[in-house]
């Protein structure tokens, strides 16, 4: 056993996977830079039509669909499902090696449930955040619980953890939901070995701290600023990058006058101490629920002829912001959706132009809708084409803000909304290829329903994703041409990955329809109400004799 352990540790050390992945898919975003790109090219544009399923795995719990990113290390798949089930699965055969079912309380009672978006694996441990707002560490060989810490009482905070942890420098970092509740957000780091709290970064400064002047009276106490997705890490700069969500109440801003730092911002934190190094706020004083919570993609690309260390982040309002990740300096901004009316544009300095704010007591048409010009499901960057791949959605909403007093841990939305089609066209969705700095669009793939699964890019010239009707498909990275498709039987809301065992490449996708946005969709497409839920993994490979 000791030899096996040593080997496991060595193989981890040998594959830092900062950007692209190969045999393993070690981190939530593939590499630490969240590219979701693999250098594997056994499956490629020339042979993808021969791809066949080689195994499937059922989690047995369909509630909320399957929104996870599997982690794969040394041929073993680590998967989390709704209600905090964790499975270790043989990546070649689909055989279960162990499982761990976390005991949640019977009543969760908060809307941010019951899904889970992934585990983190580091050394000998597997880490997961839970529906009742705890973090657990498991023995990677057996699934045995090693430690568990409750971050904050769910009944008090109305918050929990659905995002995957990020592990760096021996620390497990987790975000928190609660952005639509009367809650003050944070990122917390725990010692990976003992579970002891190492540091906490509050996303809303307390009175007296720098930035607190951007909050009215007591509004900082319940101002939202959740951190519900997973951050990225740059080992050279030793900085953790994390997107911070919207301020609360979402649609009612009169009781929190000011810019409301650090909501709707990307924050750069020292990985050892949690100290804020810089921040970039995309939407000062947000009154539309435009989270800046999605992935931070770390790119080294030329800007005006000079290579710069960049960070790309798409927000829920449908705008992509590119900033310098050493300083937080604004570089560029460009949209991923056609129907955007909450601003008329972004100035060359990064300022929002022509803000269209919903007024108290009135109903205002806002595009996109609350589900986002893009949802949280992640884009991908291919170093082969140099392009960033993202989905974009065309849908709007009628928003009616209303005055609301916060009650700790309770919903704190400050208004209601109803989905509407865009004013001049049909609702729909697309997957596009962009130049990451200029936002120039290279091609577009049109879809009937919002594409709500993450994108996987491979050196085989393919991008993979799935649709709400259950088709898992591959597009040509250079043209957007659909090359292959397979019906998995339930819609796609998770994140596909790829890995290799003994020279054979596997493409692995979660399949399982569910979630808040899936439910909301029925306001525009009534037929989606009866789309089948599910929760399974499908592994694909080329037939053994194809290589």
């Amino acid at each position: 056993m000791r030899h096996v352990l040593l080997l496991l540790m060595l193989s981890c050390a040998a594959a830092p996977a900062q950007h692209s992945t190969r045999e393993n898919w070690p981190y939530y975003g593939g590499g630490l830079s969240a590219w979701r790109h693999s250098e594997l090219e056994q499956v490629n544009t020339g042979n993808v039509r021969k791809l066949v399923p080689v195994w499937a795995f059922q989690t047995g719990i369909n509630d909320g669909g399957l929104q996870s990113t599997p982690i794969v290390i040394d041929g073993i798949v680590y998967l989390s499902s709704s209600w905090n089930r964790v499975f270790a699965i043989d990546g070649a055969t689909g055989r279960e090696l162990w499982h761990y079912f976390y005991q949640n309380p019977r009543e969760i009672g908060v809307g941010y449930s019951p899904w889970n978006r992934g585990v983190a694996v580091d050394g000998e441990r597997v880490f997961m955040g839970t529906l009742d707002n705890s973090v657990v560490a498991l023995d990677r060989r057996t699934g045995r619980e090693l430690w568990k810490v409750n971050v904050e009482n769910i009944r008090q905070c109305g918050c929990n953890i659905t995002g995957a942890p990020l592990v760096a420098r021996g620390k497990v970092m987790v975000g928190v939901t609660g952005g639509d509740s009367a809650h003050r957000g944070y990122i917390t780091a725990f010692d990976a070995r003992t579970g002891r709290k190492a540091w906490r970064f509050w996303t809303i400064p307390a009175p007296g701290e720098k930035g607190s002047e951007t909050w009215d009276k007591d509004s900082w106490k319940f101002g939202g600023g959740s951190t519900w997705m997973t951050g990225s890490y740059d080992p050279e700069l030793n900085l953790v990058y994390w997107g911070v969500g919207n301020p609360a109440a979402d649609f009612y801003g009169a009781s929190r006058r000011g810019a409301n730092l650090y909501t709707d911002s990307v924050v750069a934190l020292d990985a050892d101490t949690g100290t804020l190094r810089w921040y970039y706020q995309q939407v000062p004083h947000d009154v539309w629920d435009w989270d800046t919570a999605y992935e931070c993609v770390l790119l080294d690309l030329p800007v005006n002829g000079r290579i710069r260390k960049l960070l790309l982040n798409v927000n829920k309002g449908g705008y992509t912001f590119v900033i310098d990740r050493t300083s937080g300096e604004f570089v560029s901004a460009w949209p991923v959706a056609d129907n955007i009316n909450w601003i008329s544009g972004v100035s060359p300095k990064g300022e929002l132009l022509g803000r269209n704010e919903p007024e108290l007591g009135k109903t205002t048409s806002i595009c996109p809708c609350i589900a986002g010009g893009r949802s949280w499901n992640h884009g991908a960057f291919s170093p082969v084409t140099g392009w960033y791949y993202s989905t974009g959605h065309e849908w709007c909403q009628d928003v009616t803000p209303r005055e609301e007093e916060p009650s700790e841990g309770k919903d704190f939305f400050g208004g209601v909304f109803t989905l509407k089609p865009p004013p001049n066209g049909k609702p729909g969705s697309h997957l596009d290829a962009y130049d990451p700095v200029s936002g120039k669009r290279m091609w577009r793939y049109e879809a009937k329903y919002p594409l709500l699964a993450s994108i996987l890019s491979t050196a085989g010239g393919l991008v993979f994703t799935g649709d709400p009707e259950g088709q898992f498909f591959a597009l040509n990275t250079r043209t957007g041409e659909k090359l292959w498709s397979f019906p998995t039987g339930s819609g796609h809301r998770g994140s596909s990955v790829t890995y290799a065992i003994k020279g054979r490449q596997y493409v692995l996708t979660p399949s399982g329809w569910g979630s808040s946005v899936a439910g909301l969709m029925s306001q525009l497409w009534p037929e989606t109400e009866s789309f089948r839920s599910g929760s399974s993994l499908f592994a694909f490979a080329l037939p053994e004799d194809t290589k």
């Binding site: 509630d63 209600w83 949640n104 019977r106 009543e107 969760i108 009672g109 908060v110 809307g111 449930s113 019951p114 045995r144 619980e145 090693l146 430690w147 568990k148 810490v149 409750n150 971050v151 904050e152 009482n153 009944r155 008090q156 905070c157 639509d180 809650h183 003050r184 725990f190 003992t194 579970g195 002891r196 709290k197 906490r200 509050w202 307390a206 106490k221 108290l360 007591g361 109903t363 009616t400 209303r402 005055e403 609301e404 007093e405 009650s407 700790e408 919903d411 939305f413 208004g415 209601v416 909304f417 109803t418 979630s515 808040s516 439910g519 909301l520 029925s522 306001q523 009534p526 109400e529």
Partner: protein, 268 residues
């Protein structure tokens, strides 16, 4: 009374003012966020408009919530009459079919709280007990009145105790359940004993809050011994005497309904 209210909600013809009341509560509590959508148009929660439900079932679901789901119990936040009004309103949506939502949301929301307000001192104590911005808050280890985290015991039993007894307990040194744990790898920490019956020992590591429930192989433990440096008194000393008095007033009010003021001099 409950039977009568269900009957009221079941009645074929419901007073329009009851439905209007239900509409208002629904807009405040049920259509918010990602729940049931405006006028039950569907979101994370299921669509409610254009469907028919058994009203007794609806009443039970609204009152008690649905276990293993995001649907909360409203019995602590809404009166039975208000729950019946919500049921009447949801039932009225069944006839609305796919018609567009009608009533705009009210411009202002009054917080629905049926619990009596705490006396001012108890409220100050409550805010200290549960202060989310304070890592060392009482509620990180204790529950009272079914709120908080009960890893080191529920405090309801203290509710009827004399003020001086409660104060003395807060200022006590090291309870016997807390030991000093030393592992073979050299790690040493104050620990709250949980379970030592099997091959694995469960302990709360109290080094830094929040407490960590660690499951450690018996063979990896060097020793579990009394004494050590952990002291509850250090936690009590973080507060001024007036604040301690406020916290005690809160515990007494929550656990036993006691409303009398607690003065700092009562603590001696």
């Amino acid at each position: 009374v409950i039977g009568a209210l269900v009957w009221l909600a079941q009645a074929a013809v419901v007073d329009p003012s009851v439905i209007a009341r239900g509409d208002q509560i629904f807009a405040q509590s049920c259509s918010v966020g990602y729940c049931h959508g405006v006028a039950g148009a569907a979101s994370r929660g299921p669509r409610l408009r254009g469907r028919s439900f058994d009203r007794a079932y609806l009443f039970k679901v609204v009152r008690d919530g649905i276990a293993n789901s995001a649907m909360p119990a409203w019995k602590d936040r809404l009166s039975e009459a208000d729950i019946a009004a919500v049921v009447a309103y949801v039932a009225s949506l069944g006839a609305a079919g796919e018609a567009p939502p009608t009533a705009p949301a009210p411009a202002a929301v009054a917080t629905q709280e049926k619990l009596p307000a705490a006396p001012a001192q108890a409220e100050r104590g409550r805010q200290l007990f549960f202060n989310a911005s304070d890592d060392f808050r009482c509620s990180a280890c204790h529950s009272v009145g079914a709120a908080g985290t009960a890893i080191a015991g529920d405090l309801d039993q203290f509710g009827a105790e004399p003020v001086r007894r409660i104060a003395a307990a807060m200022r006590a040194g090291t309870p016997t359940r807390i030991v000093s744990a030393r592992l073979k790898d050299g790690d040493t920490f104050p620990a709250l004993r949980v379970d030592e019956s099997g091959d694995f020992v469960k302990l709360y590591d109290l080094s830094v809050p929040p407490p960590v429930l660690r499951t450690i192989e018996r063979n990896d433990i060097q020793s579990l011994s009394g004494g050590g440096s952990w002291s509850h008194r250090k936690l009590a000393e973080r507060y001024k005497p007036q604040q301690l008095a406020d916290i005690i007033a809160y515990i007494r009010w929550t656990a036993s309904g006691e409303k009398s003021e607690v003065r700092p001099s009562d603590l001696q």
